[in-house]
């Protein structure tokens, strides 16, 4: 079924906020048989909202999902606009009003500050419950089109989509869509396409979308046919093998922490050019404390030598950005922190510090495990922040690949 999204709020049109709601909705409805055809953002004024509604209702779409403007402040005019637009005379929902009042009193707020709009319910339309907030959603039907209005707060919108709107989309589209995301890293989009080309040609009933980012390419597979879907997915997994780091939509650092936990192994980091980013990512995962002892951010040569035990001569002879320094950093931190694995990064993040022999983007990553240290040379050619990010991804992926051997 076809969907139009209408996001409402001045903050979306003056640059104060990026509209992530419409992106989330677009991504999420697909798995339930929906496809967004138009996305419109308007200010929170009545005439703009009406113009956008007129436009969307004029298209061959089955549902309009609106977000924003349902709160208690004077800017929040979505409910009022919809009541007028659909000639609906709303009534006060006494039960909900009493609930709001007692809730306000309990929190010590002034009840006078409470807006009755929050407790209005349409005569013809329906209410959509808000499991985590006070602003409820609205649902009108007009001319075989469903019009859904949800709050703009992302957590509330998402929870209401999951509980009410997505099941409705699934029911209307009458499609049971099977879908799955395989996350890959260490392989380009074009190489993935080459590897999967004949498989894609053989499976016209399965849709495969390539979603590239700095960290790799996510592959979204979907189909209405369960057998074809499962078979396709199995083939992709065989073809891509270790390039896939998750089929459960996990971050690479979560996969690494889980693998370390499973094998009861520990890791420590010795970071130069990444400046702490690898440790930051590992510790974004709950449970990291069981496997991550810590690390040394050895940004200056002095710290590389004094703390990590890199030999002074190594830096003098080969430089801080070299195979030799990377190797001694990884081995050094592994020994010093008594961990099973040591991982290091040293490179030229840019924009300054590069030269002909050692250009910006040159990064050595080393991993020390079971007494063996291996160094990988990379040329990332991006800007400072992205060179750091890509380095952290490659480093974490090296740890993952080593752990797969256990």
């Amino acid at each position: 079924m076809k969907i139009g999204v209408l996001t409402i709020g001045a903050e979306l049109l003056n640059g104060a906020r990026i509209d992530t709601n419409s992106n989330w909705i677009s991504k999420t409805v697909i798995d339930h048989g929906g496809m967004v055809e138009f996305n419109i953002s308007t200010k929170d004024n009545q005439s703009s909202i009406i113009k956008a509604l007129d436009f969307l209702l004029d298209q061959s779409i089955d549902m309009i999902i609106m977000t924003g403007g349902l709160g208690p402040t004077h800017d929040d005019i979505t409910a009022k606009t919809l009541f007028e637009y659909f000639d609906d005379i709303p009534i006060l929902d006494e039960k909900y009003w009493n609930f709001l009042v007692s809730r306000f009193k309990k929190k010590g707020f002034k009840v006078s500050a409470l807006n009755k709009t929050l407790a209005l319910k349409p005569s013809n339309g329906k209410i959509i419950d808000n499991p985590i907030g006070t602003a409820r959603g609205l649902h009108f039907s007009s001319n075989k089109k469903e019009i859904i209005a949800l709050p703009g707060v992302p957590s509330e919108m998402k929870s209401m989509m999951r509980e009410a709107t997505l099941p409705m989309i699934k029911k209307i589209s009458q499609k049971s869509i099977h879908s799955s995301i395989l996350r890959t890293t260490g392989i380009t989009e074009s190489s993935l396409y080459e590897k999967l080309f004949s498989l894609i040609k053989q499976a016209p009933d399965v849709e495969l979308a390539f979603l590239p980012s700095l960290f790799g390419v996510d592959l979204r597979t979907s189909s209405t046919d369960n057998d074809k879907f499962s078979n396709f997915l199995m083939q992709v997994k065989i073809l891509l093998d270790e390039f896939i780091y998750s089929d459960k939509n996990l971050e690479l650092e979560e996969v690494v922490v889980n693998l370390l936990n499973n094998h009861n192994l520990t890791v420590a980091t010795a970071e130069s050019c990444t400046g702490g980013l690898i440790g930051d990512r590992i510790t974004n995962t709950s449970g990291a404390s069981k496997v991550f002892k810590g690390g040394i951010i050895a940004y200056s040569n002095e710290i590389k030598i004094n703390q990590l035990g890199v030999k002074k001569e190594t830096i003098q002879k080969f430089g801080a950005v070299s195979i030799e320094t990377a190797s001694e950093m990884a081995a050094g931190v592994q020994k010093l922190f008594s961990t099973d694995i040591g991982i290091s990064s040293t490179g030229i993040a840019g924009p300054l510090g590069g030269n002909k022999d050692k250009p910006v983007g040159l990064v050595y990553i080393a991993i020390s495990i079971n007494g063996v240290t291996t160094v990988y040379k990379n040329n990332f050619k991006s800007n400072r922040k992205n060179n750091k990010r890509i380095t952290s991804q490659v480093a974490l992926n090296l740890v993952r690949k080593e752990l797969l051997k256990f």
Copy 2:
């Protein structure tokens, strides 16, 4: 002047990419006298683009800025659509075509892969040069409305906006807008509003927008009247004083690195709950190597004791998340790394590990400088990632505030 934005691309409607172009355009045109009224995203098919154009041309707006669909692949149908829409019979720009062919040959690409659409120029409309790519922009005028089409690649779109479209907006709007962003941290939006309330009331000709994020609130001041603008800005700076960390749109870490450089001081980090994030942020700034020696990510107690020299008894008696441990961490790393400043973090990022006495979000941040260590207790009450982020912001702000005393 009023502007409509039309972003084109299937990837914007299937969730593969967040539309950051429209956000950038919305934010940027304001300073040149423009205001976005509607933003529409459509798939790259001709009928959808035409429907969106019809809608936007029907509104009381002065300009439509389109992005996307100008490249050489079969999906790129913006140019074709616009030529047909405006009854324009385009002609081949021989000079540009020859330039493209020679460029392709130089790079070793097949000329057959080159699409002539790239070298078409409108008979009635105009070409907008692309300083950094091959896809040029288009400019049509219709019914006193300007229609601008730019590539979807953000860097190309931005450079063409800066060189051609923004000056055009400024000329049409005939407004010279003065604007400035003051970045604040460590103060809530409502406290800011209270502090600025009477000033705002006294200056109706100056517009002040509050742009809140996890890291603080940015204040965007704008006015057409230069004197009133400068006066307002001066008053805000006096009222908010040290809550403002930048009036040049810098990140907090850039401000800290610049201040350290100015005072010729060095810093080291001892991070537990932030796991390396403070170091990561400092090293996002070019020039950090002059002032940041490095740090120790002391995630486990063993590392806090063995590497940072935190006393075993301190952790046994007070716990790893305590004033005492934070203090010994900051002082320890400052001494160990021989820096002027040591900064530490220890806390419960969550979601696990909290209890009644030490809840999730409890974070101690310590700063050691000139032989004095000061510890700050915080209760952040957010999720794991955000507790880490807020901690890094508060820690960097503490360093900044100490440096202001020099």
